[in-house]
Symmetry: C2
Subunit: 323 residues, 2 copies
């Protein structure tokens, strides 16, 4: 499914090209502050609000870079992916903006709201059984039938170069940071952050934040090689997927530290952010604040940037309510 010629390590120049390419299609999201949250952590906190992208997640950056980078011939055939999360809706959104087809393979058990969003953006869903075998078979068939270009959710240099534009803006908007903390799942955002900072601001540390109950990146980082979780379970449903070769390259080379947090700590940090920063964000996006609250010595007195990665959440089923 993966075209080998694409498996190169994206560079700072790729990020700059992505920035130009996607500018008309994404928002330069605001950086918000909360004196109260800063006081709670002892750090000077800056929140880069990627939840305020139109489709509600940073993944619109990588998706737009892939979609708008296609040549005219490939564009006619469109794009394809397998995902039940923000990548699926962001890829559909980008494809809709370019007016090209987007095929998404999604387990039939995925939440109805996720399916609705993909369809609202014109994505065509093919359902599979909720197993790796069924997903791979179904995706191979869809790709053969449509000729759509496979855009992997994170292990794709075009996607990583797109996500990398976020920390370029973040550094510009803040006049520099001592560290940036972002959640880690497959590692697309963290890889993009490493890509940009290692050239633009090598003195700014990159810290990854991960749920204890899906800590494959943490264990891989300690072991020095990729360890995949068996069947991680966490409320931070954007962070269930494992690292792959490209993202592992960036993590092992540039990440300073991986911090973890428990489910209760993630929910508490999510509620604190809703209350004091007053933005709607996903559980995954609360993991950085949760880990900072646990590790005050690491951030005390520092200028700390937190990337709020997404804001697509079921408002009828919030983790701190009973229903």
């Amino acid at each position: 499914m993966m075209n080998d010629v694409r498996m190169y390590i994206p560079t700072y120049a790729d990020m700059l090209a992505a920035q130009e390419r996607i500018k008309p299609h994404i928002r330069r999201t605001p950086v918000l502050r909360s004196d109260h949250l800063s006081a709670l952590t002892g750090a000077d906190l800056f929140f880069k609000c990627e939840n305020l992208q139109e489709p509600g997640a940073f993944k619109v950056r990588g998706a737009s870079n892939a979609v708008f980078g296609l040549d005219a011939e490939q564009a006619k055939l469109g794009v394809a992916t397998h995902s039940s999360g923000n990548h699926a809706s962001c890829l559909s959104y980008a494809a809709m903006r370019r007016g090209i087809p987007c095929n998404v393979v999604m387990p039939r058990t995925a939440p109805q709201a996720k399916k609705d969003t993909v369809r609202r953006y014109g994505g065509k869903i093919t359902e599979c059984e909720p197993s790796t075998t069924s997903r791979e078979e179904t995706f191979a068939r869809v790709q053969a039938e449509t000729g759509g270009d496979f855009v992997h959710p994170y292990n794709d240099p075009r996607v990583i170069a797109g996500q990398a534009t976020c920390s370029k803006e973040f550094i510009e908007q803040t006049d520099g940071l001592d560290m940036i903390v972002a959640p880690i799942g497959g590692g697309g955002m963290i890889s993009g952050t490493c890509l940009t900072l290692s050239t633009l601001a090598p003195e700014t540390k990159v810290i990854a934040a991960e749920p204890e109950q899906a800590d494959d990146a943490y264990r891989s980082f300690k072991a020095g090689h990729i360890i995949a979780d068996d069947a991680p379970k966490t409320i931070a449903d954007g962070l269930l997927v494992p690292l792959k070769d490209l993202t592992w390259h960036f993590v092992q080379a540039h990440v300073s530290e991986i911090f973890t947090a428990s489910e209760e700590e993630i929910i508490e940090a999510m509620k604190l952010t809703w209350k004091h920063l007053r933005v709607v964000m996903e559980p995954s996006s609360a993991v950085p604040l949760a880990t900072i609250l646990k590790n005050p010595a690491a951030v005390k007195g520092k200028r700390v940037g937190i990337i709020i990665t997404g804001g697509n959440v079921d408002l009828d089923r919030l983790p701190w309510t009973k229903n």
Copy 2:
């Protein structure tokens, strides 16, 4: 309680002076967009997010203008008010920043969360019974004992001039709007909006939005004189108070239209905004969108500014959940 010498109509020059005075103490809040909400209404929507002020409401503008405008002698004695809402916490916040006392008279039945916020900002609460008589008696006693300067939640020229700075920023941030829609309760924000626009952008209409179940401003506007509601009941708890002489002056002179919305329409608009704009806001702040969705002909194809007035809400008791 009201010092007569203060009852003048604030001017554009007062707004400009307020802007300079409060600049270090408030945020220039961002203007956010949602293509989806624009498409739903047929208008080009711009949301001025005053819920993103540190204490979570536009009222920090008027409160800061009053507090930082006091001379040194009065400042020693501090300020005083009666309120159980955002004015109390914003006045406490401004007084804390200047390091002066703030006395707040609040019904003992007010929500614990509101009391906690006032105390977190150093405000001193004196409880009264939940009746007008008790509130007035208690407030008179507190003011006599402390000498605190009375800062009315809205019927005060310093407060109106402070709130007026919001639409100055809004016009600058958007390069002009066909209309601005804001909620109306006592009329402080609407009066400030009229004050600024009548000089800066007289072609921009001012539309007030009000809950059907607390429609005293609507009925006053139609009758041509102030009509107070008996005991309004609405989920938009920031909008329960009646117009007073100063705010009535601005409403009758400059407001183009008052639109109303039902409780269900307000809740639906609140949820839509949380979902698609991804900010946490109060029911009161949803009234403008609710009225626009009901009156598409009035906004079709127009550049419409909506002021999101506040974001202090009990996350454990959202109006669309059962608990």
